[in-house]
């Protein structure tokens, strides 16, 4: 396949970025998108040009590091995949592919396609955990009976890999799907109920402080989420937050 790549280049957070055009040839349809980016970088290095910086780690859809916005969609045109799981067979020979970083005020660009998603870490640190006594006599989680329905929903919420595609896809750059998944995975389980009030208040407060936008229920986040996190979690977050605000 021969392609035209239009890639966002930005040397640092404070520099102004712009789109650069790179033709690329002999791309196999069986390559992953990141492998295609590797080929591009080899070509750029051989010409003495600074390679394109992009995030990646596991390359098997688990870590959530690859964060590209491809032809107007987070992780590209395929559904329920991360960029590393996107294959070049999804494109046609001669296509022009526009590659940008995830854009949000809370996700500032570090370099080229790499953005700083530490705002997600700070939200998680604000309450996305269960305080467990690890003195050695901790109760086995399997000994606590949990309704299968709740366990399944908690597990589904826990599959969120925190990639930020929800923020990138939302026209308001809202992080509600991410926060709702992190709140839901605990609030549905007995272990998480003890700290539920503080958790939801602190995490939402941190989310607002980071500068994410307001959710207006467009549903784009759910469609673009590589793990299929449901909007049902956002409704649960709203309920939990209202209840916690009244209780607090």
């Amino acid at each position: 396949m021969n392609l035209i790549l239009k890639v966002w280049r930005q040397s640092s957070r404070d520099e102004k970025g712009k789109i650069e055009t790179y033709p690329i040839s002999d791309i196999s349809p069986d390559m992953s998108f990141l492998e295609m980016m590797d080929v591009l970088n080899e070509n750029l290095i051989s010409k003495g040009i600074d390679p394109v910086s992009f995030d990646h780690d596991c390359r098997e859809g688990i870590c959530g590091m690859c964060s590209m916005f491809i032809n107007g969609e987070a992780h590209g045109p395929d559904r329920l995949v991360t960029t590393c799981q996107l294959h070049m067979r999804k494109f046609k020979d001669g296509d022009t592919i526009v590659i940008e970083p995830f854009r949000a005020r809370a996700f500032p660009v570090i370099k080229d396609l790499i953005v700083d998603r530490s705002s997600f870490d700070r939200i998680q640190q604000a309450g996305g955990f269960v305080s467990v006594n690890t003195s050695g006599n901790t109760q086995d989680a399997n000994a606590i009976p949990i309704d299968k329905h709740d366990a399944d929903k908690a597990f589904d919420a826990a599959t969120c890999i925190g990639c930020g595609a929800c923020v990138a896809s939302c026209k308001n750059a809202s992080a509600m799907l991410f926060v709702s998944a992190k709140v839901s995975q605990y609030s549905l389980l007995p272990q998480g109920k003890v700290e539920a009030t503080d958790r939801v208040l602190n995490m939402v407060n941190q989310m607002d402080e980071e500068g994410f936008g307001n959710c207006t229920n467009t549903g784009a986040c759910e469609i673009e989420c590589p793990k299929g996190i449901s909007l049902e979690n956002i409704a649960r977050l709203n309920r939990e937050y209202l209840a916690a605000s009244i209780k607090d």
């Binding site: 026209k171 959710c215 467009t218 549903g219 709203n238």
Partner: protein, 218 residues
């Protein structure tokens, strides 16, 4: 209890004020529809609504507050949301993951707000003038004729009809979305969404029908 300002509180207040306006819209439509069937009934209801103390001095101020709150909060949300993405995408394919109505609530809302200005100019201001400025004698048979007179103009009828199309677009996302905002998402949500979407189409269509009916009859 600490219901401080947060993105979720803003979202819930937007949803609740929207639901309140949907209730008002339903009663407004029901009253207007009587004008198609009976001049007498329309006059009687309009006279009651225009002269009842509870309606005029309790419900009407609440309604005005609800309308003003809804559009001010809408502008605040839009401002915050635009600020949350300081650099726009070169390519953003919003249509691949969300519908037009959900992405353009601010624009359909602005059209509805402009329409409300015209609607106040047409009906509310003359009514206030009649009752409280000129203090004219009570006439419970005037309402139907005033309504028909307004829709004699093809331009006004067209503006009203187009505005109702935008109302339908606004409601199509806003009504069903408000249930999600207040935390209602369960096995009944599909049925509720069907009802809300049906309402969003039928009620504005009904308003258009009433406007055209009176224009053709005039």
């Amino acid at each position: 209890m600490s219901l401080k300002t947060s993105s979720i509180i803003r979202k819930v207040s937007m949803a609740l004020s929207g639901l309140f306006l949907v209730v008002f819209l339903t009663q407004h439509f029901t009253i207007n529809l009587t004008s198609v069937f009976s001049e007498n009934i329309f006059n009687k209801i309009s006279h009651f609504m225009g002269n009842n103390f509870l309606v005029q001095f309790i419900l009407q101020p609440i309604l005005i507050f609800g309308v003003v709150f809804h559009f001010i909060m809408g502008f605040i949300l839009e401002y915050i949301n635009r600020k949350s993405r300081d650099t726009s995408y070169v390519t953003f394919k919003g249509s691949s993951n969300s519908n037009w109505m959900s992405r353009n609530m601010i624009y359909s809302g602005i059209v509805i707000l402009s329409f409300l200005g015209l609607h106040f100019y047409d009906f509310w201001i003359p009514e206030i003038n009649y009752k409280y400025v000129e203090v004219l004698p009570l006439d419970q048979d005037r309402y139907y004729q005033e309504l028909v007179h307004k829709f004699e103009s093809p331009i006004r009828t067209t503006i009203y009809s187009v505005s109702f199309v935008f109302l339908a677009l606004h409601l199509y996302h806003g009504f069903s979305s408000s249930f999600q905002s207040v935390g209602f998402n369960n096995k009944y949500s599909s049925a509720l969404r069907l009802f809300a979407n049906g309402f969003s189409i039928i009620i504005p269509l009904g308003f258009i029908f009433i406007a055209i009916f009176h224009h053709l009859k005039a």
